[in-house]
Every structure is written in C-alpha cells, then in structure tokens.
C-alpha cells in the first residue's frame, strides 16, 4: 500500500484561477494547501500571452500575461503553499481522493478535505468544427501556435490564414505579422468580430490585415503541408452561399474557434455539466454539486478577462475557508438564478447560503447577441428588483452585476435576469 497524504485543500491546476484561489484560502486561515500543476511551470496560459492588456481591472495597471502571473507566483513563493509541478491528476473520487502521477513520486494518493477545480479550458479543434479537406501539416489551434512562437521559439509558418476573430485569433494575427509572416486574412463566420474593438484596431487595422466577416473555410488542400484553402461567404443561417468560393494560397491555418472548459476530471466525479457553459453547476460560493468541491476560472465558464478569473477564484478560496470552519448556514430554499430574455447564462446558478456579512453577490452573465441601449433587469415574481443601464452588450464581453444582499428575501425561490432594449417600454417586464 502506498502512503496516502492528507491536505486541507488541494487545488487542481496552477494557472491564474488555481493561484488566486489557493492564496485567498491561505489568507483566510486554511493550512496545508497543495497545488497540483501538470506543466513544468505555474502560471497557466499567462506566460505565453506576452501581449499587454492584463490587470487593468484587478491591479489598476496594464501588464503583460507573464507579469500578471508573476505577481501571484511571487506571493506563492513567499507562502507555505506547496506546489507540485509536472504532476498530472488522473482521477478524483466523490470522497475527495485524488490520484496523480509525476516522475519524482511516481503514483500519488492524496486525500483532501476540500478540492478546488481550476483546470482552465482548452481550445476547440478542427475536429470540433468539422472542416472538410486534406489533413496536411500546418494546421494549428491559435493557442498552440502562440506557445510555439512565444515560449518554445518556433515559427509556425510564413503565409497564414486565421479562422475565428476572437481575441486569441486577433492577437495571433499581429504576433505572426510582427515575426515576419504574411497574414493573408482573418475569417469570421459571424457578422461581427467576437474580439475586443481594441484588438481589432491594434492587431488587424494597424497592419492592414483584412477581416472577412460572414466567411468560413470550406476546404483545405495540401499533401505534406497546407497549400491552399477555399473560403466562402455564409448566409444568416451560416450556410455556405454557392459561387462565393475563393481559393487562397497559404502554408498555415490557425484556428481560433472557441474554448471549452476542461472537465474530464469533473466528469469522473460524476457531476453534470451545464449545457451552455460546459462547466459544473455551482452555487454562489462556487461550490459544485459535491459538498467541499469547488470550481473557479475557465473550468467553470470561459472568461474574457483574467482579472475576473482572479476575482472569482478568490471567492472560491474564501468559500473553502468558510466550508472548512463550518461557518455557513444554508437557506431554507435555494434561490435559482434563471437566464431571461437575451441572456445566455448566469454564474452562479443558485444561491444556497444566508450570509449577512456580504453586502452583495456578484453575478456574471453573457448576452446571447449584441444589443445597444439596454436595461439589465433583475426580476423576482415579475417585478423588477433592480435595473442596470448599459449602452452596449455583446456576447464577447462578460457582464457583471451586483445583487445586493438587502434585496434577497427569505421566501424567494427564483430570480430571473433579462436584458431588454430600452425602447421596449420601461415599466413592463419582458422575460
């Protein structure tokens, strides 16, 4: 029998979520914390995100990814939180037993009082979106190309087509251009870019890289290496419009076609994943359906700013401290948070606890389409409890609203949040 090590808290993943959660738990008095990280270094995806634009919300200064990560790595080094790098978790049970592997310890058996899942997300691939054609070398997910270029020192290619205009696609368009590649076009199947305006201007317009909206790849041609792609226009239903095909020669295709929370381990624990976010169902403490198992960051729902990952993870860390000290009381009925009109999802999914210390509960939500001049209505029993005015909402930018504790009443069972156009009449509730 191998030895079973016991910890108060084990954090799975040493990216921005895992680091912030562990530090927050520590700050609130949790002892014996272990972070398990599968890569050779901690920091998650941040060290390869060498561009600036991080930290404005959390630190009030603009940092690059590695600099943002380092602020937490430094704090970890000054703490007695244990970090095991190069360690792959292969199984977690409902009873919080963790099996992990690394080259130093071999097989590790760990028992935890509490677990925080902070495994982040992974990129959607060509297989996920089913692009037909040959299968030559030269097709990369944008994040993989980013790692090659910024960490490992390989240039993915010379003549580049990028599919997907999310922020990673835009950032990589600029990166490839700066390193001497010819970026021929960025294609976007939607009628709008899902990336930040700032990235569209500073990554594409600055370098005259064309953005082709309502376009997709219909064929890839090449034997050893990518030789050319066929691109075509799509209609409102995203069906390819015949006779709009155009062949572009290139040797490299980067795919920036979305991120999926990495929940293989969560599935092995037996809890269900939300159909929209792909993450576990959590309450306001970021606690999953299994008591004492928490989740935060991109494993829960894909964030667009690391600053929000940090804030959410600190909340999860604090929640662990409350769980371990037994300092929490359940509501008689949980309050379900339900997405109303134009809302694709809300995290958390429910409110389980009575907590008079907190002044407000921060809610993260996303619009399901771009809308201007809207009210974000927090609704109970067809009455608007609170209204936030917003000039613009887009699916690409997470919306955060506060639900004041003072508005939460004993008997409530459901609170709905809707995004309504302001012209639709101020007084009436549309949900």
């Amino acid at each position: 029998m191998e030895e079973v090590k016991q910890y108060n808290l084990v954090v799975i993943g040493g990216g921005p979520a895992g680091m912030a959660a562990a530090l927050a738990a520590k700050k609130d008095g949790v002892e014996d914390i272990l972070i398990l990280e599968r890569d050779k270094y901690i920091g998650g995806i941040l060290p390869q995100c060498i561009h600036n634009g991080f930290g404005l919300e959390y630190f009030g200064e603009e940092l690059t990814g590695p600099e943002y990560a380092y602020k937490f790595i430094e704090r970890l080094q000054d703490s007695n939180i244990k970090v095991k790098k190069g360690t792959m978790v292969v199984n977690i049970t409902k009873n919080k037993k963790i099996t992990a592997l690394n080259s130093e310890d071999g097989l590790l058996q760990i028992k935890a009082d509490a677990i925080i899942l902070a495994m982040g997300c992974r990129e959607r691939t060509r297989e996920n979106i089913k692009i037909p054609g040959d299968r030559p070398a030269g097709i990369f997910s944008a994040g993989t190309a980013q790692r090659y270029t910024n960490i490992e020192g390989y240039m993915p290619g010379k003549e580049v087509i990028i599919l997907g205009s999310g922020d990673i696609g835009l950032i990589m368009a600029r990166r490839m251009k700066l390193e001497g590649a010819n970026v021929k076009a960025v294609l976007e199947i939607m009628p709008y870019s899902s990336g930040l305006v700032r990235n569209k201007v500073q990554c594409l317009d600055d370098f005259d890289i064309p953005l082709k909206l309502k376009h997709t790849i219909t064929d890839i041609n090449g034997k050893e290496r990518v030789k050319e792609v066929t691109v075509a226009k799509v209609d409102e239903k995203m069906n390819v419009i015949p006779d709009t095909e155009e062949v572009i020669t290139c040797d490299t295709i980067l795919l920036s076609v979305g991120l999926i929370p990495e929940n293989e381990l969560s599935k092995s624990m037996g809890f269900s994943l939300h159909p929209v976010t792909g993450g576990p169902i959590v309450n306001e403490a970021r606690e999953t359906e299994i008591e004492g198992v928490f989740a935060c960051g991109n494993v829960l729902h894909v964030h667009d700013l690391v600053d929000w990952v940090t804030k959410e993870s600190e909340l999860a860390g604090k929640s662990v401290a409350k769980y371990l000290t037994g300092k929490r009381s359940y509501r008689e009925n949980p309050i379900k948070l339900e997405p109303g009109k134009n809302v694709s999802y809300i995290v958390p999914y429910k409110i389980d606890f009575i907590d008079f210390e907190r002044k407000r509960i921060k809610l993260f939500l996303r619009a399901d389409k771009p809308l201007e001049n809207v009210d974000i209505n927090i609704i109970h029993d067809n009455k608007i409890l609170l209204k936030y005015k917003k000039d613009i909402v887009t699916p690409g930018e997470m919306i955060t609203v506060n639900l004041p504790e003072a508005l939460i009443k004993n008997k409530m069972k459901k609170i709905k949040i809707s995004i309504n156009k302001r012209e639709e009449g101020d007084g009436s509730v549309q949900n």
Binding site: I50, N52, P66, V201
Partner: protein, 123 residues
C-alpha cells in the same frame, strides 16, 4: 488650404465609435462621431501621435527556455513597430533574466527601453 478627413475607430469600449477628424493645414478643425469625452480625447491623440506598446520575445542564451518575453517600457510611435521588431530580433541575452531587466536601451532612438516581462533561469 489643405483639408483632410480621417476616420478613427475608438477602442475605449465595445461600441467602437467611428470618429471623424477634419484637418485644415495640419490643424484639427473638427472632431465628430464620438460617444463620450474620453473618445474625443482618444481620437485627438490617435490622430496626432498614434503610439503602441510593443510586446515580443528575445532569444536567450543558456536559459531554461529559448526565449524571454519583452515589451517596450512605454508606448512607441506606431510607425516604429516593424523597424523596432528588426532591431529586437537581432538581440541576444544571456540567462538568467529577471522581470524588468533592460534588454535593449533606446530602441530605434525613441528614448524608450525594451524590458523583460518574465524571469528565465539558467539551464
């Protein structure tokens, strides 16, 4: 009299206002299409002297990793982005490298240094 019109997309928020600047003999005559004062100010700056922070990498010798990420300490004029990349691509730095270390002084005579944004230990 030389009149010119320039369009600038504001990057302050997702609205992305299309701001028009009218210029007469090198002087801004009119700014329109902005949604807020911040946007107007952004457009004025972006018209007069567009600047960007340049983040990239430099080759490290004898390091645990082959590259270190770097950035210009302050934004540099946009027109120097590609020339600065040429200069940066020729640089080599010996490990160890610490965050904040100056890697290149006064890149492209802008008066601005290129600094490391990560730590790289020796091999």
């Amino acid at each position: 009299m030389v009149v010119s019109r320039t369009n600038i997309i504001c990057v302050g928020c997702p609205k992305g206002c299309r701001i028009k600047i009218e210029d007469e003999d090198g002087k801004i005559k009119n700014i329109s299409g902005y949604g807020c004062d911040k946007g107007k100010e952004y457009a004025r700056e972006e018209y007069k002297n567009p600047t960007r922070i340049l983040p990239t990498t430099v080759i490290v010798e004898n390091g645990e990793l082959p590259l270190v990420s770097v950035k210009t300490e302050k934004p540099i004029p946009k027109k120097y982005l590609l020339p600065a990349m040429k200069e940066i691509s020729r640089a080599r730095i010996e490990a160890p490298v610490k965050i904040g270390d100056i890697i290149i002084k006064n890149v492209k005579n802008t008066g601005i240094n290129v600094i490391a944004t990560n730590n790289i230990e020796t091999e």
